[in-house]
């Protein structure tokens, strides 16, 4: 194997890469998946409480609510506009604050506060906003709350929000698509277009070709995984552990990609292989989404050995020493899969020219 030839092959692939739909998809995938995740699991399933206020004076309640984080506040110009907001479910709850309301509260007149709420809004959001408004009113009257509420995240897996629970799944998706697709697709493309045969009658060897595809796939996968983690706010304070996990995962996925690429003679066979076998690779994810399932079953899957460390690091803050054993197993699996590529590459070469 020659570094110069490998680099020449990679530079050719890079030049072609930006003209390939697969590579383009790989490059935009972290952004698309993160966007979808944010829309589906944050905006739809875990949306922020939304309040709309028509304030005919300059109430302290409005100003106090504007300072609260975690709610979305909008203002209506009049009562009719506020009602329209609510009817269109653009806010969970509407609040009409008449001019002089604050003074009336401070004078102890117990003025009436009118709420409007949308039938389509979440009950939990209505409660959150109602309680917030009551807190603000108490502050106005200088009444201390009888208790102090402290929010803590539980240690149990069930208490981790679904959007965060899905982060390892998204990274696995990136690992599978980039780590497996890139080397596999590039190998198959060379075979389909006959260019591999053209390469093999130059000083380029099969090992050069396989290594160049794997190296390109490896680099792209590691970069894409880190971009995905960054986009999802999951770059923990354990960079070494995270890097080791992504590297181990990438080695396994690249080796699988090379196996697929050497086995498949054309794109159709490659897609069949991916469709039939990738479900097995993504299997461990089920055990994190449905925590009641017995975890030992997940250990059967080769991907478990880097998905579990990823889960522990990104969601539970585990450090390298806690995950190194599992990562070592993942690396061993990756190396064994790489060894399996050797006879497959010989078979590929034979089939290519026969």
């Amino acid at each position: 194997m020659s570094i110069r030839r490998v680099w020449s092959l990679i530079s050719g692939d890079l030049r072609l890469g930006f003209r390939s739909p697969i590579i383009l998809w790989v490059l935009i995938m972290p952004f698309v998946i993160t966007f979808l995740l944010q829309v589906v699991f944050v905006a739809l399933f875990d949306p922020e409480p939304r309040i709309c206020i028509y304030d005919s004076g300059e109430s302290d309640i409005t100003m106090a609510l504007e300072r609260v984080e975690g709610i979305r506040l909008s203002r209506a110009e009049n009562t009719a506009e506020l009602k329209e907001y609510i009817e269109n479910n653009n806010a969970d709850l509407g609040l009409v604050i008449e001019d002089g309301f604050d003074q009336a509260v401070r004078d102890g007149q117990k003025p009436e506060l009118e709420y409007f709420f949308s039938g389509g809004s979440l009950a939990s959001n209505r409660i959150v906003i109602s309680l917030l408004v009551l807190d603000v009113l108490r502050e106005m009257e200088n009444i201390e709350t009888p208790v102090e509420v402290v929010l803590r995240t539980g240690d149990r897996e069930e208490t981790i929000p679904l959007a965060r629970k899905l982060i390892p799944a998204i990274v696995l998706l990136v690992l599978i698509i980039t780590g497996i697709f890139v080397p596999a697709f590039m190998l198959v493309e060379e075979k389909e277009h006959g260019t591999m045969k053209a390469l093999l009658v130059t000083p380029v060897t099969v090992s050069d070709i396989l290594f160049s595809k794997a190296l390109l796939g490896f680099t792209m996968t590691v970069v894409m995984c880190f971009i995905t983690l960054a986009l999802n706010g999951a770059l923990s304070g354990q960079p070494l552990a995270l890097l080791a996990t992504i590297v181990a995962g990438t080695v396994v996925c690249n080796a699988i990609g090379l196996i697929y690429g050497t086995m498949a003679g054309n794109a159709k066979t490659l897609y069949t292989l991916i469709k039939s076998l990738n479900i097995l690779l993504a299997g461990p994810i089920l055990f994190y989404l449905f925590t009641g399932l017995p975890r030992w079953i997940a250990k059967i899957f080769p991907t478990y050995w880097f998905i579990d460390p990823l889960y522990s690091i990104t969601l539970k803050g585990a450090d390298f020493s806690e995950v190194c054993f599992k990562l070592a197993i993942a690396l061993v699996i990756g190396i064994l899969l790489c060894i399996a590529v050797v006879p497959l590459s010989r078979r590929m070469q034979r089939k290519l020219v026969e």
């Binding site: 020449s8 530079s11 030049r15 072609l16 390939s20 006959g194 045969k197 009658v201 000083p203 026969e354």
Partner: protein, 286 residues
């Protein structure tokens, strides 16, 4: 002179099918050897073995004094191969294709434009190959094959299905390569092309090598060696064939010429195709 290529007792089977059966031949520097045979004769399999794509079941191949084996970069750096199938990078331009391959050969200061000019593609250098015609692709394949100024050049049906202009361009390039000292192995089933280009021809059929010799020697050996004379007057035209081996052949030809009735005289030289059929018992157009 040491041969550029020495193939000894090569055999290869695809399962039960014997594609090449114990063939031996050599190729000298600056020589063009035409490999002639119908489809399925074993020409491409032989080239695949010689270029290291296939490992022969038996026999040995010495290229440029080195034993050829799978993944032998040292030998492969000194050969050029032009396949029958157009295996170019379609999403690269013509120039990018050549530059990419020049890097694989480790060529420094490679001038792609000069080579593109030689194959009449200079004005399409920046077009993607997917937009090239069949002839243009074949010319680019030829340019790619000679990118490293190979010592041995393998050409598998290089002009197959090309227009006359593209064919002529490629034939001229093949001659140029031989003139500069490259040994050229050319497979074709175009008899005229083989006759025109080859210093020697080899007849291959059903995996067996029947004969290797110069076209002239083969014609001498297997041709009819006769002269056909067409004689005519105003109302009557007749033909007479004179066997040159006959004792009175010279006198008879003289006599006919002196008769003032001669319309045309043709030598009855055998074509390579006639000789191929005579030797192998099979035509080339299959």
């Amino acid at each position: 002179m040491n041969p550029s290529l020495l193939a000894t007792n090569l055999s290869y089977s695809y399962g039960n099918l014997e594609a090449v059966r114990g063939i031996s031949f050599h190729l000298n520097p600056g020589e063009i050897l035409g490999f002639l045979g119908p489809n399925g004769a074993g020409k491409s399999t032989t080239i695949k073995m010689i270029t290291g794509l296939l490992t022969p079941d038996t026999g040995s191949i010495h290229l440029l004094g080195m034993e050829m084996s799978l993944d032998n970069p040292e030998v492969q750096a000194r050969i050029g191969v032009c396949f029958e199938e157009k295996n170019l990078y379609l999403n690269m331009t013509g120039r990018e294709n050549l530059k990419f391959f020049s890097r694989l050969f480790g060529l420094k200061n490679f001038d792609a434009d000069d080579l593109l000019k030689k194959v009449d593609l200079a004005n399409r250098a920046d077009d993607r190959v997917s937009k090239y015609s069949k002839g243009m692709r074949q010319r680019l394949m030829m340019a790619r094959a000679i990118i490293n100024r190979p010592d041995v050049l393998f050409l598998d049906e290089p002009t197959n299905g090309l227009d006359p202009v593209s064919s002529r361009t490629l034939r001229n390039m093949i001659r140029e390569q031989a003139e500069r000292g490259a040994a050229v192995l050319l497979t074709t089933h175009d008899m005229w092309e083989a006759d025109e280009l080859s210093d020697r021809v080899a007849f291959l059929n059903e995996g067996k090598l029947y004969v290797v010799d110069t076209p002239d020697n083969l014609k001498m050996k297997y041709g009819k060696r006769s002269v056909k004379v067409r004689l005519g007057s105003d109302s009557h035209v007749r033909e007479e064939t004179i066997e040159l081996a006959a004792a009175d052949a010279g006198d008879r030809i003289k006599e006919l010429i002196n008769s003032d009735n001669v319309m045309t005289i043709h030598t009855e030289e055998a074509t390579l195709e006639d000789i191929f059929i005579e030797i192998t018992g099979r035509g080339l157009d299959v």
